[in-house]
Amino acid sequence: MSTIIDVRGVTKRFGGFYAVDECTLSIQKGSITGLIGPNGAGKTTLFNMVAGTHVPTSGQILLDGEDVTGLPAHELFNRGLLRTFQIAHEFSHMTVTENLMMVPEKQSGENLTSAWFQAGRVSREEAEVRRKAEEVMEFLKITHVKNELAGNLSGGQKKLLELGRTMMVDAKVVLLDEIAAGVNRTLLNDLVANIERLNSELGYTFFVIEHDMDMIARLCDPVIVMAAGTVMTQGHIEEIQKNEAVIEAYFGGSPTGNATIETDSTAAQEDQQ
């Protein structure tokens, strides 16, 4: 397997505080890699730097061998790196179909001149994009809400829409930011199933921040553990759950030494507070 995202010695400093400190990790192409760690470990900061929201203070981030350090989010989007948001983003006053159809870049209809002078090309492209959107909705089984305003969708459906957005372009890597947060159990199963299908059928690479240990255990391999701004360890979830140092980091040391990371979602919810 080859590496698709390579984070090399990345540091992010906010004033005197090192949120991420000399962090190095790599994500294999075609994997679903999880990122866990206690609050304040720097997961979100690292994630935001990979997604192009924050610029690293120092260090390098490579996407498919190319240096993408400090590129803004829409540039990364062009290169096939997409993210979803913990709190789903959507164009709430547009329908689900319209939402999906906004995604592909460089549509000539968005161009001031061609919008008027190349009407034929614009409408051909538009038909193409619409067909693609229909396919995506079919894949995600959300065709029944295609004419619904996105703002009226349930939390879980919005997350599906976020996934759908990544499918409108040929994404290489998708960063999932707490996709399980605020989604009911049934829809969560749908989400997991869809993520796995995207991974196995379309070869998407996923990089997942998640507090829900159940979700991590079901979905992710390998799992990377961060603590105090740097990578502590990585490996299969079962190894991680037995790792003394990880337990120490999560619970600040347990006197009996036999605590394990809870796979209960209540712990995850508490964690989010």
């Binding site: 829409h74 959507e90 709430s92 006053h93 906004m102 001031l112 614009v122």
Partner: protein, 330 residues
């Protein structure tokens, strides 16, 4: 029946006219707010600027001796709309864009637009003087007198008023089509709905901003021209209607083009109906009334006309705090 004719002439027609002007202005203000997130105070002077561009073109056409079935000023308005749109993009380039790129807060942009207002007013006065001008250079404006059944007085409507109403109607339909059907219009709605997501999904923000200024500038020019065709062109003409336009924008729900249209007509009608002398309508039935009909029964004296939009604003915002149409996005 003469009373009803009087009511239509002084109440309905006037309300429709001033409402159309407010609506055309408010659409621009609301679009600019929706996309660029600041209240554009220079909009009134963009209207005056547009009207002056039209005047110059009209004078040029008149001196060439061209005679057309429609008033020259109306014909000249269309190229003037294009020119004003370009000027609007130019103003954005020079004054607002650098501020946006420096990450200025909206209030800074508002202040900048107040500065642009003062600058435009000064420039217009510098080149055109302060006297009022007639937009009808080649021929006096036509006045239509339509006989009303059972009344000795006719309905009166002038040619520019007809043109204004027709133009507003067409502009609203075209705008609706543009925002709901065209790709660029949808991109505009997307940017106004969720700018962050729009940026990330790679919507071409530059083109969206240009489209906003083109629509705003062109409609401002049209509103300024048609207003000065209805009355006369003065340098402070549009500045005086800026406040009602803002009231209309807010009443309709800020960032909502349909709200702007509704707000424009609501403010326009309430203004004219508030100063309308209702005693005239009551006079024919005065024998059946239990009270003496006074000579003047306007709700507010004409001098206080400017107060009405704000009264409407307060009333609407008490019952619908986000405006008639829920505000903030297109």
């Amino acid at each position: 029946m003469n009373e009803i004719v009087f009511f239509i002439n002084k109440g309905i027609t006037s309300g429709l006219i001033i409402g159309s002007i407010y609506a055309l202005g408010a659409i621009g203000v609301t679009l600019i707010f929706g996309i660029l997130r600041f209240a554009h105070f220079a909009h009134g002077d963009m209207m005056t600027l547009g009207a002056f561009v039209t005047l110059i073109l009209t004078a040029a056409l008149a001196s060439l001796g061209i005679v057309l079935p429609l008033p020259l000023a109306f014909i000249a308005m269309f190229p003037a709309m294009a020119i004003t749109a370009c000027l609007a993009i130019g103003l954005d380039r020079v004054f607002y864009k650098p501020l946006r790129q420096a990450g200025a807060r909206p209030v800074v942009l508002v202040m900048a637009s107040v500065g642009v207002t003062l600058m435009l007013q000064g420039l217009i006065r510098l080149f055109a003087g302060v006297r009022s001008r007639d937009m009808f250079i080649e021929a006096p404006k036509e006045i239509f007198r339509i006989p009303f059944p059972g009344a000795s007085r006719p309905l009166i409507i002038t040619e520019p008023q007809v043109l204004l109403i027709v133009f507003t109607f067409v502009a609203v339909i075209v705008l609706h089509w543009f925002l709901t059907r065209s790709r660029l219009g949808k991109a505009m709605r997307a940017v106004s709905d969720n700018p962050e997501l729009a940026r990330i999904t790679g919507i071409n923000t530059n083109h969206v901003v240009w489209a906003t200024w083109i629509i705003g500038g062109a409609l401002a020019c049209a509103a300024g021209t048609l207003l000065s065709m209805d009355v006369t062109l003065k340098p402070d003409l549009s500045f005086n209607i800026l406040l009602p336009i803002f009231a209309a924008t807010i009443v309709g729900g800020i960032g909502q083009p349909y709200g702007a249209i509704a707000g424009g007509f609501l403010v326009g009608f309430s203004e004219t109906l508030a100063v309308f002398n209702w005693a005239i309508l009551l006079r024919p039935i005065k024998d059946h009334l239990w009270f003496e009909v006074p000579a003047n029964l306007a709700l507010v004296p004409t001098q206080y006309k400017l107060m009405v939009p704000f009264l409407i604003l307060i009333i609407v915002l008490i019952y619908r705090p986000t405006g008639i149409f829920k505000g903030r996005v297109l």
